[in-house]
Point group: none
Chain length 95, copies 4
């Protein structure tokens, strides 16, 4: 059976009765730091939703705004290619 944790056997020894406590605290640190960051991400995601909701309230199309943001993410070359490919397909279909 393989071990679920990485090597460094000394840190996992049963010889030291305090090691569990120490490791528990340590693992808890990592877990809670990660969870805290996760919560921050959620807050930001919510803020993004607010941005879109506000834009919608101002009369803008949320879906188009999303498209604009996606386009801005593309490098100019990528964007040119994206448009070229779409046009190639639509042209091939007579659209």
């Amino acid at each position: 059976m393989s071990r679920l944790v990485n090597g460094d056997e000394t840190r996992q020894s049963d010889e030291n009765p305090t090691s569990t406590t120490v490791n528990g605290a340590e693992i808890r640190q990592f877990v809670e730091r990660h969870e805290r960051l996760e919560a921050e991400k959620k807050d930001i995601t919510d803020a993004q939703k607010e941005v879109m909701a506000e834009a919608k309230g101002r009369g803008y199309s949320v879906s188009v705004l999303r498209s604009v943001i996606a386009l801005r993410k593309l490098s100019p070359d990528d964007r040119a290619e994206a448009e070229a490919v779409l046009e190639m397909y639509t042209t091939a279909l007579g659209m």
Copy 2:
């Protein structure tokens, strides 16, 4: 069943020829706020990776840590129980 754009959303009457400029600034506000938030999310994701990398460097299994976090996520209303589960897991792992 899906539409690329919402029905009525131009928000552009032909009456005011300067509206494009004004809207340009407004659109830019929304777009840039959204992009800024996206960048923050990326920073946080990177920070999470650092947390995991550090934990790994301390000898912990990243996959086990992820499992622990996932378990805690399942019962957010009962943190005491979540902590008991965490302890059970760490104990079972000889930690």
Copy 3:
């Protein structure tokens, strides 16, 4: 307390011991017909995935194909407007 089923009390009377059987058969008919149709939908969805997988295997971009299909769904007017709105936004942003 509100009743979960619609009126027509006579169909739910306890006076007739056979009504449960009759209604059980009837409800089962509806449920199973619905489930059968659901299974057919799933088969079709799977077939659609196969179509896309095959197209991908032939070297086409699945995402662009999806865009093409979405465009074909739009009425010519809707499509023109969608493109106009996107262009308006990108122009306003100097893109």
Copy 4:
């Protein structure tokens, strides 16, 4: 993080000037197969609506029927149990 198109997917060498026509037919095949399947799905969805409408006309609660179907979906591996649950519900409802 998202791209509008996949990286290398043009599938169009410049060596063969007729490839667009050929690909047009090929693209059309994929697109139309997909659209045809979509239409079939719509027919089935309509049939499902008819089932529910008919059940409603027979005095049943659409929402309860949906619940029953959802329950059966949860344990597809144990149809006997699902049927027991169905009977329990129908009995509890005085049906």
